[in-house]
Subunit: 255 residues, 2 copies
């Protein structure tokens, strides 16, 4: 008689909302590795960063979108979804948390604006190994074959290799043909930023309003960065931490 | 004839909203060091983290709240305020950006949920030396004498000492009597987390809703952390970075 192996509980969330094609693509991959439960926002939450909902209460409603898989939509942010899932839906920490597959890049500085990665980071605060997956294709009809292949490889590694409890990965997948894909590359976060360029318009009453637009500028020439990897047909994996202390500067300054 | 010294432009923002007492207290201090311009949210934005507004446009309206000082309220998040200030209000990078004084702690892991610190961090992305100030007193009638004294000391250092362009400080001030204050301490971010405990209620239709509540748990026994400093009557200053790469893990893992 062989010992029955523990089947991991896997929490899935995202920031594009529970009906986005990317989350269905991620559920398909993750369900091969354990018992999947989905808790995701009921509306798109792109750019929500690590926001939490303090000024109003949250709603949580079951949805039937992924066959037999237990799934809920939540009125809050991606981080709210993880908190509610742990405290109220599961009543315990899941063994893993995977977020995405996001429609659009979360490489480099985008991680800090990203609801997808903030959800995964929130899980890692709890000591839950987590990863966020993002695909450099915004299209609703995007082909998720390559992102699914990469997610499968990363999740297999996370489930089978021995990792610290707080292991957290920012995974980005380039928009390229499968034939051109060169593999997965471990990277550091590229030093890059957005140059803002607000679009100014006038409403019918003649009052101004502003749309946020901008240009992504990569000032980092390193070949060990996520941006370099993506530009060269690799999927990038950046291990992430939540200690924001600038230890170098801490040693140098006096107050 | 002495050379006329350049008077720095100082951007002030917060996350409690433009009418919060804390921002007025910060303006009072900052105006001694340069030309102050205020761009702050028109509603409280606590817990907004690094959220940006993508799905709707932003409004920006002048307000007269700080005497002769140019000030605007913005319909977006604290990070939106910084972006709009640089691109549309100032049309250039200010020399410094100070955020706060926040009503409540942003020490340790709270930095990641904090709109106050995210605004300061956004400025530092732009190469603007920045600091966020937070006071461990939520009261509307809080006495800001000690936070103002600390802000004055930190701003004096930032204006007069030679610092890297991305210098970014997370400054927290304890709620204590002035007589008990021991001074300012440079620290690292304590390893701590929130244990969630959602409050479950029912609406008049009998449907459940949830309020986020939780307990802050400090698991870090170090005497060099911000939490230790605040518990021992110091104000804490943590230098902050935006590179989230876990360089230790990057060296260890294989994929």
């Amino acid at each position: 008689m062989t010992k029955k192996k523990h089947k991991p509980t896997i929490l899935i969330t995202n920031d594009d909302g529970v009906t986005a094609p990317g989350i269905a693509a991620l559920v398909e991959v993750a369900k091969q590795y354990g018992e999947v439960v989905v808790v995701a926002p009921d509306t798109p939450q792109s750019g929500m960063g690590h926001a939490i909902t303090l000024g109003r209460p949250l709603r949580l409603n079951p949805v039937k979108l992924f066959g037999d898989i237990e799934a809920y939509q939540c009125s809050g942010t991606p981080v709210d979804c993880v908190k509610l899932a742990v405290d109220k839906v599961l009543g315990k920490k899941p063994d893993f948390c995977f977020s995405g597959i996001n429609h659009g890049s979360n490489a480099s500085i985008n991680i800090i604006y990203s609801g997808t990665m903030s959800a995964a980071m929130e899980a890692s605060f709890e000591g839950i190994p987590a990863a966020g997956f993002s695909f450099l294709d915004f299209s609703f009809n995007a082909d998720f074959s390559l992102p699914q292949q990469v997610a499968n490889e990363v999740i297999h590694h996370m489930v089978h290799d021995i990792l610290p409890k707080q292991a957290l990965y920012n995974v980005n997948i380039p928009k390229i043909d499968l034939d051109d894909f060169k593999g997965i590359k471990l990277c550091r976060q590229a030093e890059a930023k957005w140059n803002e360029n607000f679009l100014e318009r006038k409403d019918p009453m003649g009052k101004k309003y502003y749309w946020l637009t901008g240009e992504f500028v990569n000032t980092d020439k390193g070949k060990d960065t996520d941006i370099w990897a993506l530009d060269h047909n690799y999927a990038s994996v950046v291990p992430i931490q939540h200690d924001l202390t600038n230890h170098d500067l801490l040693k140098k300054i006096k107050l």
